[in-house]
């Protein structure tokens, strides 16, 4: 079973994140870059499935040069190889374009399953796995808290508001996982050493048979017209509980007509 895990490098959530006023895109140099947190769960799930069913795990990312650091980390967790779609023209690509580019890249890799995290901490759209399934014309098995593979049949438990849906599809399929699915492993020292010599293939737009006009800010299906720092919330009333804290809250809520 050959598995491709999608990985996105994102700014560290715990650092200050900024937009670049020049073109209203994410300022990727303003903060530390890390593997998108839920993608580590996707990598773990890929490794677990490989351990159970054999095959290879390939990490696929689209991102700037520095995304190689994150690819090496993913490889040190145990993935076999990586494919890095990197091209200056991709800067500012929207989710739909990203799915189209990833679909082209996947056409160069043999795979049975694509596994992604359910959400990136920077854009928080949660739609690239669905869009990728649409672009590839394969089953969308998203929001999985559990994945089971038997032959060419994949069954997931899709997390819902009130429980879960059991959803089934045939390979090749696109899966996205939520963080309750597993506990990602830490890279071992051996893994870190081994990762240094694992193959990382770079693909440009030309390699994918795409032209720069099809991607990037110019071709984006959405445009950020302007942005502003949200005004700080006006300072609230903070009181120390002197035995009537609960009553004080109720009075506040009543004054706002909230109860």
């Amino acid at each position: 079973m050959n598995i491709v895990v999608l990985m996105k490098q994102v700014p560290d959530t715990y650092a200050e994140r900024k937009l670049n006023p020049a073109d209203n895109t994410l300022d990727r140099d303003a903060s530390d870059a890390v593997i998108n947190e839920i993608d580590e769960y996707a990598i773990e799930e890929g490794l677990l499935l490989k351990e159970a069913h054999g095959g290879e795990v390939t990490i696929l990312t689209m991102g700037p040069d520095r995304a190689t650091e994150s690819l090496r980390k993913a490889l040190s967790m145990g993935a076999d190889k990586a494919v890095h779609v990197v091209d200056d023209a991709l800067h500012g690509s929207c989710a739909i374009t990203t799915a189209k580019v990833l679909a082209k890249a996947l056409a160069t890799i043999e795979y049975d399953l694509v596994i992604a995290g359910s959400e990136a901490t920077d854009s928080r759209l949660s739609v690239v796995p669905a869009l990728l399934a649409e672009a590839l014309g394969v089953p969308q098995l998203s929001g999985a808290r559990k994945v089971q593979v038997e032959g060419s049949t994949v069954t997931i438990e899709r997390s819902t508001d009130t429980g879960y849906d059991r959803v089934e599809g045939a390979t090749p399929a696109v899966i996205s996982v939520v963080e309750k699915i597993n506990e990602p492993r830490y890279p071992s020292f051996k893994g870190i050493m081994a990762a240094k010599s694992k193959p990382v293939q770079s693909l440009s737009l030309a390699d994918l048979g795409m032209s720069p006009d099809e991607v990037g800010l110019g071709a984006s299906t959405t445009t950020v017209e302007s942005f502003q720092e949200a005004p700080p919330r006006s300072a609230g009333t903070i009181v120390k509980d002197e035995g009537n804290g609960g009553v004080a809250i109720a009075e506040f809520l009543a004054s706002k007509k909230l109860i």
Binding site: A130, T237, K240, I249, L258
Partner: protein, 319 residues
């Protein structure tokens, strides 16, 4: 006036509040048309209410096959209706499934998708709150029909009469739309509390709650106000409550009228999911907890004395 498609959501035969909000928001862009995609008989029960909230048309696309497969059928039917109607915009309520339906619809229409709008302007652009509420952006779709998901509680639903003229839409799904088969829908959550996504009031508990048993303190406050119950990641990671209840990054993003945080410190992880709440109340032992920077009203104290007193006082005032 331009037509605006609104994807209808219902549960147990009645419209979700978020659908009424969408119909209200749609009126700033044009004339709302409700789109009901579901099992046969779904629309009949909803039509009166759709008319009451301004639907000029109700597209009815009903088939047993819709709910037999995940997401793709709805996207296919919605795109098909949009191709014929050429609407000014398509609005859906922000939740995991609708966002996937919306994105796939935009893909099919060769247009664009704006997620999690907190406001939609008359020109069809959307305001979004990003980076955990630190930045507000104004975005628009660059080409084609804008497909926008709107966060619950972003507008107040207001009635306005509409004719709700029924337009029947034949459903014939492609094989591609039947790729992910829904085998079973399992309900785990018990009780009759409102869902987190839709609720106008949410009471959440965090690390300070201390155990699964203690979560009843949070639930009692929620039940006194008729609120949904949420949790911080510390509480879901500890296994005190199910993952579905997690508010924050990698969990649910909410924007209720009132958010009460009990024993939650307010890490960025959590703030990212609740910072756009209209009114925020916090109870925490630690006066330095970052949640107090957001709170409109905060009590520094022990939640195990403050919360029960609050629940009791609310009940008393209700009489």
């Amino acid at each position: 006036m331009a037509e605006v498609l609104v994807l209808v959501e219902a549960a147990n035969g009645s419209l979700k509040k978020s659908t009424l909000e969408l119909l209200t928001a749609a009126r700033t862009l044009g004339e709302p048309s409700a789109v009901v995609i579901g099992a046969p008989g779904t629309a009949a029960a909803l039509k009166d209410k759709l008319a009451e909230y301004g639907a000029a048309k109700v597209y009815v696309a009903e088939s047993e096959e819709i709910d037999a497969y995940l997401v793709a059928p709805k996207a296919e039917v919605l795109a098909q209706i949009a191709k014929d109607a050429e609407p000014a915009a398509i609005l859906v309520a922000s939740n995991a499934e609708n966002k996937e339906v919306a994105a796939r619809t935009a893909f099919k229409l060769d247009s664009g998708f704006l997620a999690d709008a907190v406001e939609i302007t008359a020109e069809g652009s959307a305001k979004q709150s990003i980076f955990g509420g630190a930045v507000t952006v104004t975005s628009r779709v660059a080409k084609g029909v804008p497909v926008i998901s709107l966060r619950a509680n972003s507008v107040s639903a207001a009635p306005a009469p509409g004719t709700a003229e029924e337009v029947s839409v034949p459903v014939s799904l492609s094989e591609g739309a039947k790729a992910a088969k829904l085998l079973e829908r399992v309900e785990e959550a018990k009780g009759s509390r409102p869902s987190l996504q839709d609720a106008s009031v949410i009471v959440s508990g965090g690390r300070g709650v201390g155990s699964a048993e203690n979560f009843s303190v949070v639930e009692n406050v929620a039940d006194s106000i008729g609120a949904a119950v949420g949790a911080s990641r510390a509480a879901t990671d500890a296994g005190w409550v199910p993952h579905q209840m997690q508010v924050g990054q990698t969990g649910v993003t909410v924007s209720p009228q009132l958010y009460i945080a009990l024993g939650i410190s307010g890490a960025i992880q959590h703030r990212a999911g609740m910072q756009t709440s209209k009114t925020i109340v916090a109870v925490n032992k630690d006066p330095e907890a970052p949640i107090f920077e957001l709170a409109d009203f905060g009590v520094v104290g022990d939640l195990f004395t403050v919360a029960p007193q609050l629940a009791e006082e609310v009940a008393k005032r209700k009489g």
